[in-house]
Symmetry: C2
Subunit: 331 residues, 2 copies
Amino acid sequence: MQDPIALFERARAGDRRALARLLSLLEDDGEVASRLSAHLFPYTGNAYVIGITGPPGSGKSTLVNALARAYRERGETVGIVAVDPSSPFTGGALLGDRIRMQDVAGDPGVFIRSMATRGRLGGLAHATREVVRALDAVGFQRIMVETVGAGQVEVDIAQAADTVIVVQAPGLGDDIQAIKAGILEIADILVVNKADREGAAATLHILRSMLSLGQPAVVRHHGRAMTIQHVEPSRAGWSPPILQTVATTGKGIPELVEAIERHRIYLEESGEGEARRRRRIAEELAALARERLWARVVHQVGRARLDGLVEQLIRREIDLHTAVERLLKEL
Amino acid sequence: MQDPIALFERARAGDRRALARLLSLLEDDGEVASRLSAHLFPYTGNAYVIGITGPPGSGKSTLVNALARAYRERGETVGIVAVDPSSPFTGGALLGDRIRMQDVAGDPGVFIRSMATRGRLGGLAHATREVVRALDAVGFQRIMVETVGAGQVEVDIAQAADTVIVVQAPGLGDDIQAIKAGILEIADILVVNKADREGAAATLHILRSMLSLGQPAVVRHHGRAMTIQHVEPSRAGWSPPILQTVATTGKGIPELVEAIERHRIYLEESGEGEARRRRRIAEELAALARERLWARVVHQVGRARLDGLVEQLIRREIDLHTAVERLLKEL
């Protein structure tokens, strides 16, 4: 196998194939990934990370494409990470729809990486973080992380971004189902894409209702009146703006770039950016420590002892809390 | 506050309000929940747990309703846990649509519990497990856990069930998007509900293609030809059957009950059921141990030391792996 450190140096020098291989090593996890991750770390912390999420059909990829072009025009290099936690498709065709990406894909200042789960759902958020850090370390200035849906994994992934953009679009069949509270709570900027389509005003209205405070909004859903629980704005001092775009024509993109810039400045001036980075790294530290601690327990008490405890649990001779207490006493 | 153990005894004696309060205590987490959970544990392990998941609009609630009625006719008591990891709606109306549940809700042999995230997405799988165990402990014989979607949380929740049913329906707008690989991999039984509707044959075909081995299937999606990656059957010796139901009329329900029974017998005879229970309890033990270990670390090294490490990480003076190593050395 190639020396991972040498691979990193070549990637930093602009070798795209080396970069692709580097990312694969990091995705594989294990000893090499840990060593590489440790080596990369001092080089990170310079990129601005933008998370973009929304339901299928909202035009995320086209929007990411348009944003990438805008940043390229400003002379910035762009890394794109497209994550689909549930894609059963080879090559991630559904999420990425990379054909539409062609105009940016030929540009040496843009690097696109698709990530799918391949059976390790739980580790995807972690793997995405490693990939983002690697793109940061090799020098990409803007990194966009695109995810689909509104599950826990997407929330985890989005929370690794400096600015989180939640994309909606009219006519996605069921507007209300598409707007998930979990994801709205983490939105720094809301975008109604395909704003030239019928129903854009209604989508805008629902988003405004969900974001506004005061009386709960009542909207009609399939003819039934429904009460919408209000989403507390998550960031004191920042009200998520709702923008309208038509990513295919570029309409509203300059305003979106501008809104991201305003959010960046807000993060910087309010100290919220610093607080977020601190929270994020503290969480990563805790997660990694938990894993290592457990590995240590397994090593110390041995598989046989663990199996014995599981056996007692199965027979209901002890309960989970007692089992854990005994385990920790034996350390 | 009421004595939780007394509450449990009353719930076991059939007091539904006591049961509801008991579940709330368990959902709240913390010291009381731990003590209660430990107390309940010896009483668990008797219920048969069925997980039911699928996209919005697939008719899951009606199906759960129909299954509940079938089990009631056989004289079994039924607990229903409806989990919506992303519902922004008060009372969980969207998922549960409890109006349709009325005919079973009045029955003292049926208990229905709705669970929403209320901001603690990560703990939902754990909380659901606690609620299922409590229903088991107070004597419900069949427990159905209903979740929407296909995210990590749903997979976690479904994996706590003995038999996992994945429900699809024709005409959900985008058949392919609705069929997520992650969720198919955990399906023991597949159901095409609303099988009397147009498009049922196509939905059936897609599911069969995804489950079959051999050549990848090519299906048309919005006019584009797409290659479907095959999903490896997760259980050796068990091929997930694909059934058709019309839950509103009860068509196909006896066959579904029969398929669940066949799966139960398969689990028992093959030893797979035992293996699954063992795996599940081992995972719960590991998860709880990780949490306790981390709490211990925080207590031992102190918040100030952790903050110091985070500070060094922010300044890129050390990397995550080094930080964790130092932390563990100090214990």
